[in-house]
């Protein structure tokens, strides 16, 4: 017996198969134990994915980030031989997450599509809203974390001679694009504190982008002073911590944010 294709079965369990395709799967599955088993396995997979909790950052998150960052800083100081960061990939990920954020902030209302789920009770709707909120906070938190790490890396350059900041300018361009997208979305929501921080970030990123790619020690110190004057690293850390606390509150509703 020829079994049904995986794509056909996935469309079926997701409710994306049209009436004819559904009838074909139903007829085949009625006589094929293998395909019935595969349908059951796919449904179990979807249930497992729906139940998958958003991982919470551990207490040692800051230490783990620093452990990853420190060797890169050391390599940078020793002659910038560290592995390049794939900022383009980060930006792509940010853009995708932004799409989800945009859908949330636009106040989209979930709709039932297809046949597997015909009714949504209050509890399930609340769960989905919590999932959306967690996606939003995760996207913003990641952007703030990346920006913080990038600025820390820049200001920790060794400025005894000339400083080549061409790599930093590359990530600043990527972060600027993401920052503008996030700011646009966040401004339409009630997250005024985050919108204000994103506003503060833009001129700094522009400053980095439009600086010469090779700076003298004096020029680098001046750039670093302009960054540090705005206390951006501190603000990013505080706001990032607040976002993570709000994430934890969504995961553990009884927990209070500081």
């Amino acid at each position: 017996m020829t079994h049904l294709g995986e794509e056909q079965l996935i469309a079926y369990v997701l409710g994306d198969a049209d009436e004819r395709a559904r009838a074909e799967v139903d007829a085949h599955a009625a006589e094929c134990e293998t395909c019935r088993g595969e349908i059951a396995a796919l449904r179990a997979t979807l249930e497992a994915a729906a139940d998958s909790p958003v991982p919470e950052r551990g207490d040692d998150y800051d230490a783990a980030v620093w452990a990853r960052l420190e060797p890169r800083l050391a390599a940078s100081r020793a002659g910038r031989v560290g592995a390049p960061v794939n900022w383009r990939a980060w930006l792509a990920a940010a853009a995708i997450l932004l799409a989800v954020v945009g859908a949330f902030l636009a106040g989209r209302i979930s709709r039932n599509v297809g046949e597997p789920q015909q009714a949504v009770n209050t509890s399930t709707a609340a769960d989905r809203r919590a999932i959306r909120d967690r996606v939003v906070l995760a996207a913003l938190g990641d952007h703030l974390d990346r920006t913080e790490r990038a600025l820390v890396e820049l200001v920790n350059n060794d400025a005894n001679g000339t400083v080549d900041i061409s790599a930093e300018q590359s990530w600043a361009r990527d972060l600027l694009e993401a920052n503008r997208l996030y700011r646009q979305s966040v401004r339409s929501s009630a997250s005024l504190a985050i919108a204000s921080l994103l506003d503060d970030l833009e001129p700094v990123l522009l400053d980095i982008i439009h600086s010469p790619s090779t700076l003298s020690a004096d020029e680098f110190h001046a750039l670093r002073a302009r960054i540090e004057d705005r206390s951006l690293v501190f603000k990013l850390r505080v706001t990032g911590a607040d976002v993570r606390a709000r994430q934890r509150t969504l995961i553990h509703p009884g927990e209070k944010t500081s």
Binding site: I10, A11, A40, T45, L46, A48, A49, L97, R132
Partner: protein
């Protein structure tokens, strides 16, 4: 879920958890419906393989 690309994860989340239509997801992600279907398919197929030993496949 961590083994999925951002595009696959977003498409799958919007379809399965948010229950958005293929057309809505395509609009949000800026791609055509066929590409969206393929992203969702790849996401489910990857998870199916990753969870293979954990989900019952016996008929």
């Amino acid at each position: 879920m961590q083994g999925l690309t951002p595009l696959e994860r977003a498409a799958f989340t919007l379809r399965h958890l948010e229950q958005q239509s293929i057309e809505e997801i395509s609009s949000v992600l800026g791609q055509n419906a066929e590409a969206t279907r393929h992203s969702i398919f790849r996401a489910v197929a990857k998870m199916r393989r990753a969870l293979g030993p954990l989900v019952r496949t016996e008929p």
